[in-house]
Structure formats: C-alpha cells, structure tokens
C-alpha cells in the first residue's frame, strides 16, 4: 500500500512539474487573444477591408505550415514553448484557438463573436486556474458566472427576455463545450464556436417566431486621419 501511495505521489510530482514550466505562459497566451478585438476598430475603407481578410488568413496559413512541419519533425517541438506533453504528436491548441477567433471575426456578428472570444480568452484560463487550485464544481460555477457577465455586457441593450435567454444559453454552452472533451477537437476551439452557433440558431428561430432581433455594432471602426 505504501509503495502504491509513494508511486502516486511521484507521478503527481511529475505531472505538476510538467504543467508548471509553461503554465503561466499558456494563460497569458490565452488572455492575449482578446487583443484581436482590435480587428473591429480598423477603419472601413475599401483597400483596408481586403487587408483585413488577407492578413489574418496569412497568419493562420503560416501557423498551419509550422504545425505541419512540427508534426513531420522538420521543426523541433523545442521551438514551441508552452506546448502540452500530449500536444507533441497532435495539432497544438494555439492553432485551434486562432482558427476559432478568425471564424468568429469573419462570419459572426459582433454581438455573438465578442462574448465568445472573451469566454475563450478569459473564461477558459479562469476555469483552469480554479480547477487546479480548488475543485471542478467551483470552477464550473465561477466560469459560468464569468461567461454570463461577458454575454450580459454585449447584449445589455436588448430586451430583457432576449438578454436573459441569450446570456444563459451562451454561458451554459460555453461551459459545456469547455467541460466536454473531444479527442480530435480542442476545447479552445469548442468554447468559441459552439456557443456562437447555438446563439445564431437561437436568434434565427426567435426571428421566425416573431421577435425582431437586429444585431448591433459594439465596437465601431476608427476613422481615417485623412
């Protein structure tokens, strides 16, 4: 029995040491993602609109190429600081994270995209941190409240029933997609896309039923200085 306990403790130490080195770096990488909201502040000019599509796609293509080279062992995983051990032989979660953000920025209205991006950028690390230090149930509860706040902030101009419905469904689906792990799809992708799709479907259904929901702009494009 003692042997088993000491073996478990040794394994725990190993796991802890593995997660420690890049731990805060990974968290900051997540919160950094919120900077992509700057995309909405770029002025609405014809040539800039083209650049707004080309540059993000180019960045993602570079990341995909790097990942392919890494998986084919052409580039050492040592150059990718913050990779988890299990990501050594599969696509890194940073790529899922980036693709998720780009899909939201390109194809979803601001009112859906912004809270979903915030859930991935802040909700996910907060849940992870609380889960590591306290317990899973607390993490789920606090994570739900945090995601709920993000949805309330972006929908606060809507009718109260829409605000409550969208916020609860959005926050719940974000939490569920964070908890439910799928082998071939990272939770960094799921936490963004699943709530976005569900809310979009919900709004479409509500519009057919008779609610007249119009998406509002939250962040307005900046003006050109000339």
């Amino acid at each position: 029995m003692k042997k088993i306990v000491s073996q478990i403790q040794k394994t725990k130490k190993k796991i802890n040491s593995l997660s420690f080195d890049a731990h805060w770096y990974r968290r900051v990488f997540h919160t950094f993602g919120a900077s992509f909201l700057f995309y909405y502040m770029l002025p609405d000019e014809h040539y800039l609109n083209q650049i707004k599509i080309i540059i993000p796609v180019f960045i993602i293509l570079i990341a995909i190429t790097l990942e392919l080279l890494r998986l084919k062992k052409k580039i050492s995983s040592n150059h990718f600081f913050g990779l988890r051990v299990y990501e050594k032989d599969r696509i890194g979660s940073y790529l899922y994270f980036g693709i998720g953000i780009i899909i939201l920025l390109f194809f979803f209205p601001q009112q859906i995209a912004i809270p979903c991006i915030l859930c991935a950028c802040f909700g996910d690390p907060i849940i992870g941190e609380i889960r590591n230090n306290y317990d899973k149930n607390k993490a789920i509860l606090i994570g739900f409240v945090v995601c709920l706040v993000f949805f309330i902030i972006t929908w606060y101009n809507s009718k109260i029933e829409i605000l409550i419905l969208v916020s609860f469904i959005g926050a719940s689906s974000a939490i569920l997609s964070e908890i439910k792990k799928i082998k071939w799809l990272d939770d960094d992708f799921m936490i963004q896309i699943i709530p976005a799709i569900i809310i979009l479907l919900l709004i479409m259904i509500l519009n057919t039923v008779g609610f007249d929901i119009v998406f509002e702009k939250i962040i307005y494009p900046g003006l050109m200085p000339w």
Binding site: F20, H23, A34, S35, N78, F81, L118, F150, Y156, I218
Partner: protein
Amino acid sequence: MNRKKSIYYLNNKKNDDAKLFKTEILLTPILILIPFLVGFYLIYDWYIRDIVLNELDLFTELLLGLIIIFGNLIFDIPLIRSLIKFSSKKKIKK
C-alpha cells in the same frame, strides 16, 4: 517545482532549457504590451467619441477595454513573477 526535470520530459532526449526560456522571454513583451494598448485604445475611443464628441453610445467599448486590461493584468503578474524567479535562480547557479 523541478523545472529541469519537466523540460527533460518535454524533450525526451536532452535538456534544452535555454532555448525554451529564450522563446518565452522574447515573446513575453508582445504578449503583455499589446492587450494593454488595445484596452487603452478602446477606453480612449469611448472617451473621445462618447464623452467628448457625444457621437455614439460606446459604453460597451469602455467595459471591454477594462476587461481586457484587468483580465490580462491578473495573469501577467504571475508570469512576470515566475520569470523573475527563474532568472534569479539561473544567476545563483552561475
């Protein structure tokens, strides 16, 4: 926690501690500064277009700016602390 050990497990073959640490140090200023710039720009935009010019209702922009700044601050402080701790350990070893 045993950092050397953890990196050894990550590498499987050799201890490439310095290479990994360099990547972290090089990217840290970007990861820390850009969110603050975006956050402050959102607040600035709210101040100019909502308060000064009274053009648009940009209260959400203010909230988003604050979320980005404080959300990043919460996680930046431990990262900077861990970097300082690690670099001071390295100096002692030298």
